[in-house]
Symmetry: D3
Subunit: 125 residues, 6 copies
């Protein structure tokens, strides 16, 4: 018998796709379990599950944040998520171009390279 | 005879209001003139003036970026601008709450304090 | 009739003192309520309430983090909390001196100034 | 005849193990020699050699700092050093989990991945 | 018939060499074209093309900035550019050593490793 | 009888002026003494005292670094120091303008404001 899906797991699945959720389960171990639970319950179950702004806007917040924070691994995931959430390629291009002004050109250059990899993997470039 | 308004000055006026533009002019001096021109021509005339995403989305990009970059002066301006661009108080609240997960709770706490000041100055809190 | 104290409120009271909790309640409003709940339930109720390391070690983690993140408001609170958690003045001095090597001298200089204010307010300097 | 070991070299050897010291010597060249001396004499000979807090606490300061500063190479070394200094796997897990709240989830996610690699290399995961 | 070289392309070619410009053209695509134009026109055509300080000093500004911002890809390019602009290996060594004090030892350690790769590729180490 | 001036104190005096050194002495206390010694001996006595690049170039490194690191207190000191080291107002303006491209416009805007205060205090604006 399956345990019912948590809110966080549902949001994460809708955002990143079922394969992402499967990969997470396979990398779960005694060391990272508490972080995976935190991510699922706090990040996705508590914050992403809220109303107030739609998921596309949440993706925009994350992309801008991750460019500024210099976190390429998470940025790739959230560009993927943004495309799943209805962002177009042109919208992602515009957001990243705007980060050149505020987070600086080196941040934007790295972000474009990461976005190109995500777009190529999806056949969008 | 007045010189015609530049694209950047127009966008800046629409985003931040005519008083903001007046204050900028008054603080202009020999030292900061090149930066004011850069801001008007590159930031507002070249990037903010582009299509592709609407101004509300550009405000969202900036708020998330400025929280992550720890730049309270600019964050206050762009929360103000976001309200001018059609963001609601609830939307700003949701964005800032989301930064607690990604940029961390100290970043979000500082951002809420700054936002509260902007909202109070506009009679929205 | 009082509602029973939550785990997070209890940890926060033990860490920062009852006056801190009172000040928080007074600044609570419709805009920041969701962040205060997040802080109380996630930060203090979920993470600080865990075992595994004692609270003094959690204070050390926070002080080092807040120096690196450049968040003076929170750093002042957590230096206060560290003293409540059993850190000595000498231990705080040593930690902050070590941040000069890793986070850089400007970060450490700002941190010492903040710590001196906290120590003076407590009559420890 | 050998030159006597400096204080910094001794502390570095005790913290990171003799193999680490050997690797350092092999990578020493005309360009990086001044940095290696700075590291040995200032970081390890002057700061790590101080009393006031024990080495385990110094490792905690460093892990929290390096997560916040986004420096994966050094973080891996200092997780290794923390285990040599008497930190348990559970303590490292708790510290890193706490960074999710303060430095943000992307910082903690990257840090867990780095820690897992260190733990696997030591047969601890 | 060729279009005449823009100011930005000329500065970029003089700074990074003609091969760098060729590589840029080959990686240009519909997604990154706007960023490449921004870089060429704003960064190189508008800022690097200015007088006031010589190019060597501009390289120094960039190296220090990119160490602090933790952007290794761009740092490698600008160490290369600095050598083209007349910086000596010893000058780069001194600048990077100084970043150990201000940006912290982990930043300087990463920067030295990147600089060593650039120097080796040019046969200077 | 006076103790002879250390190398670090001499460099610091030459860079920041004798009044700066006097102010430092007056703020020295049991808590910050170890940091003041670290600053004098490591930062000024060991690094700034080196040859290889002249002091003006060291000031340039620091200004770019402090803009990127978001450390206004130290930035003000080092803009002052740069003027003492022979940087002209125009050179400082150019450097700060360049940081708009790399560290981003918000960083440059804050830096210009700080520089204007320093220049006004010296009667240069």
């Amino acid at each position: 018998m399956n345990t019912p899906e948590t809110t966080g797991a549902r949001v994460l699945r809708e955002l990143m796709g079922p394969e992402h959720l499967e990969r997470r389960k396979k990398t779960r171990n005694a060391f990272n379990a508490a972080l995976q639970d935190y991510s699922e319950e706090v990040c996705f179950g508590r914050i992403w599950a809220r109303g107030g702004i739609d998921r596309k806007l949440r993706s925009v917040v994350n992309i801008a944040t991750l460019v500024a924070l210099n976190r390429p691994n998470q940025l790739a995931h959230h560009i993927d998520g943004a495309l799943n959430n209805g962002c177009t390629v042109e919208e992602i291009q515009e957001m990243l171009l705007q980060t050149a002004v505020y987070s600086g050109l080196p941040a934007a250059s790295d972000a474009f390279r990461i976005a190109e990899e995500v777009l190529r993997a999806r056949g969008l470039l």
